[in-house]
Every structure is written in structure tokens, then in C-alpha cells.
Symmetry: C2
Subunit: 279 residues, 2 copies
């Protein structure tokens, strides 16, 4: 299918979600946003690893086998072309009676949405104008790092991003330290060092963030570390960029009164990233 | 209809939710749990007030008129008996393209679920065994007090409540101070004083909590206040109780090594509460 969004629920084509559903009622579930090239899921293992951790932390019954089956089925339904699509995989705890307590016999549901084709990742994305928001991440170590369905903070942060003046917004944590953008992880380049905020108390541990930390940084001769970052370090950085699964790595061109014209390190990392997508 | 759950979406009977939907995708919405006696909504204004505040804080377009219309319609569809039902009203930000940012032209959806009959509130509920959970409320002043759809913390807390040993669990905030139970607000009685945790940084501002603070406490000759409570104050209290819209006020019978046999103040408050329901 070209030009249409397809939706699958537990392996069957669908257009609506049976109610009650705990993802709808309480945000009781997790999701992943994957890139699909033709019928091929890119960097699938990074997504499945995070999902597996999330399912355990949220105490879902083990459902990874059916998740993988449904995912493979949805991917295989796309033609084997070079077109890129965005696939959203959502795992809900399913139906059940009223009340917060997960039912003892809960049966998770797997909802998959495949978008119409999007632009293929190619050259380095245009430098972004990074704005600011007063919406901060809540402090919640128990859920930090997970891509669960409770995303109101990012919804409100993204609502603060006026497209006339900015492309993304910086989100701080409860202590006022930079943590991420509204839809991506944040990195700064300082000499040979690549630094990104640690996510012990808030934020989403992005798949591209992990790829950069565990592989791309070393491929590009950089020392990567998770740390607590100050705003002043952002402004003093050689380069800034953010990343997510859909855009890859996007350099920051402006933030407050700072302007970055060249992005040589981000460019090298992005080239290494594109190679990963081709594997 | 007796014995069945009825579902309404934007005023039409329904059994499934059209996708995409932002309540499902991001928990982007709010809800209220109301008591219905026959076709009459009880304490409706308390729920509508909180919902109105939530819609503003989440920057929804104004949709209170249609919310009220749909609510009245769902209530009027029930027979005018003395049977009690639980009505859940959910307002989702509706459909829209992928991405956290709310669409400029978003059209909220109103989803109403009406349960089969439940027991009518009557005498004081049986004293509860209050257990504990290691799941704490996150710190998020921006969303504190609202009954929004991001409820994973309470889901995980409720999962810690083993029905063999407890009826509810105490939830602490990030600093380890008592904040609520998993599905209700917490009060303690100390002499003529009635104290409940303040909700500036986390928690849900319950409708019954508000009723107690603004009216029932004074009716019963008590001085009510919101404050920061210590665990030691709970253990030293004359009485403890929690409250929500479905159970009303339920006294705590046991917590740790403390046991409360008589609940005279909670009983008086509960009697005053039942009178409110009859108005």
C-alpha cells in the first residue's frame, strides 16, 4: 500500500481499537517507532531490547514472541522496495475491568501502524533552531528511560515549539538541567568528547542514543559519556545535535545567542549512522 | 440496560475507538469517574470543575459544552431507578498525525463508559488493611492535581496490593512523604484537625477530597488543612481514611503495627457525605 496508513491489531488488519483498553484508559503500555525500508525493519534489535526491558519493568506477562511475530507480519506485508516508512509498535496491557490494578489474566494487545512513505534518510538534516520550553521532565526514576505511553510532558513541550521560530525545544529536568529535546536525545561535542545527559530520573533512552554511545562514537574516534550537563556547557559546546529514529541525527544551528555554522563531528557520526541503516 | 457496559463516543453508541487517537498513543487526555444513580449524575459540578481546569492546563480547545451534552445524553439513557452505576468520562485530544505536538485543528473526542449496577453507597465501608508499595509518585508540578490519562504510577502501585494481605497501598512522593493511596486521597484525624497531603507536586485532587475540605469537615466541626505529612503522623493519628468517588470514605483499620478499631470521626464525615449524595 502506498499513501495509506495501515493498522494491525494482534495480527489482523483493523481501523479501531476495542474498548475497554488499558493503553487508552491509563497509558498502560509501551511503544516503539521503527524505520521500515521496504519490508525490512531497521535496527530492530535496539527497539526490541528496549521494549523487553519496558515490559519487565511494567510487569507485563511475557509477550515478546507474539510481538515479534506481529512485527514480522506487518513488515512482510509491505512491498520490498527502497521506500521508507515509519512503523509504530504499541503494546497495550489489553482489556479488563475498571480500576488501576492490572488484571491477573491480562492479555496484552499489539497494535502496529505503518505510515505512508517518508523521505529516505540521506544527507545531514538541515541545522535546527533549538528553542526553549518551560515544560520540564518530571522526576520518576522508576519509569525513566522507558518508552511508555505516558507522554503528556512531551506533548506539552512540543506544543511550545512554534514552527515559525524553532524546530525543536530543549527540555530541562526538575533541577533545571538539560535533559533532551521534546522528541529526541541530546548530545554535545566538546573536543574529542561526546556527552549526553544521563537518564536515571527522567527521559527516554533512545535507540539512536544507544547506537551512538555504544558504537558510532568509537567508530568516529570519540569518547562518549552519559553525565549531568549544565546549560552553560551546551552554549560552550563545539557542536550540539539531537537524534531520534525518524530523523537520525540533526545538528543544532542556533540556541539562544549561539550559532553553529559547521558540524563536522555530527556529520561524521551521521555518515556512520547511515551506514548502519544499510547493513 | 442492566448488566451490560454501555459505551458512547461523541454521543453515539460504540464498542471501539477509531485510530489514531492521542489518548491511546500518548495518554493525551483527561478522565473523570462519576457516580450515577438511575439517570442522575451525582456531584457532577465537582467533576466538571476539575475537568475544566485540566483541559485548560493541557491546552485543549474549549469543548465543555459538548462534554456536558454527551454526559447528559449518556445519563438520560439510563432508567430512572435507584440503581448506582459508575460512569467514566474520558476526553481525548482526538486523532491527528504522528508526533507529540498537538495538531492545530485537533478535535477532542468524548468517550463515556457506563458500568453495570454497583452496590449503593450505604453504611461506612469495612475498615481497610493499608499496605505499602515502593512505587512513588513522580515529581511533576505541571500536571499535579489533574486526573489526566498518564496513570502508570498508580497502575504499578495497585499491582503491589496483594488482596490476601491488603485492600489498598500507601503511596509516597519522591521525598518519601505520604501522598495518597493508589486510588484515592488520604486523610488523618488528629483531635479536631483533619489533615491531607498537599498536592503541589504530584497526585490527583479528588472530588471527594475537595468536598471534605470545603464542606464536610466544617459540617462535622473539624478544622481541615492541606499540609506535608510525615509517616510518623499517620501512625500517631486518631483515625485514618481514604476516599474516592466510587467507595466514598473508607476508614483504615490497620497500617504497619497500628490498629484502629473505632472510627467515630470518619463515620460522621461519611454520614454527611451520604447526605450530599442524596441532595
Amino acid at each position: 500500500m502506498v499513501g495509506e496508513t495501515s493498522i494491525w491489531i494482534d495480527g489482523a488488519p483493523a481501523s479501531a481499537l476495542e474498548l475497554p483498553d488499558r493503553a487508552f484508559a491509563y497509558g498502560d503500555g509501551l511503544f516503539e517507532t521503527l524505520l521500515l525500508r521496504g519490508s525490512r525493519l531497521l535496527l530492530q534489535e535496539l527497539h526490541l531490547d528496549r521494549l523487553r526491558v519496558g515490559l519487565q519493568r511494567l510487569r507485563f506477562p511475557d509477550c515478546m514472541d507474539s510481538v515479534c511475530d506481529y512485527l514480522a507480519q506487518a513488515a512482510a506485508a509491505e512491498p520490498d522496495t527502497d521506500l521508507f516508512r515509519v512503523l509504530r509498535l504499541t503494546v497495550s496491557r489489553g482489556g479488563g475491568p475498571r480500576g488501576y490494578a492490572p488484571p491477573a489474566d491480562c492479555r496484552p494487545r499489539v497494535i502496529i501502524t505503518v505510515s505512508p512513505p517518508v523521505d529516505a534518510p540521506s544527507g545531514l538534516p538541515a541545522p535546527a533552531r533549538l528553542g526553549e520550553t518551560s515544560v520540564r521532565w518530571g522526576r520518576q526514576p522508576l519509569l525513566a528511560g522507558l518508552k511508555h505511553l505516558n507522554r503528556l510532558e512531551q506533548v506539552l513541550a512540543a506544543a511550545d515549539c512554534d514552527p515559525h521560530s524553532c524546530d525543536e525545544v530543549l527540555m530541562l529536568d526538575q533541577s533545571g538541567m538539560p535533559l533532551s529535546v521534546s522528541a529526541g536525545n541530546l548530545f554535545l561535542v566538546a573536543g574529542k568528547r561526546l556527552l549526553t545527559p544521563s537518564l536515571d530520573e527522567a527521559g527516554i533512552a533512545g535507540t539512536r542514543r544507544r547506537l551512538i554511545l555504544e558504537r558510532l562514537a568509537a567508530d568516529c574516534g570519540l569518547q562518549a559519556a552519559e553525565t549531568r550537563l549544565e546549560l552553560s556547557q551546551l552554549l560552550a559546546a563545539n557542536e550540539l545535535f539531537y537524534c531520534n529514529s525518524v530523523i537520525g541525527l540533526r545538528p543544532v544551528g542556533t540556541f539562544r545567542d549561539r550559532c553553529w555554522v559547521e558540524h563536522p563531528v555530527t556529520r561524521r557520526l551521521h555518515t556512520a549512522y547511515l551506514e548502519c541503516l544499510r547493513e
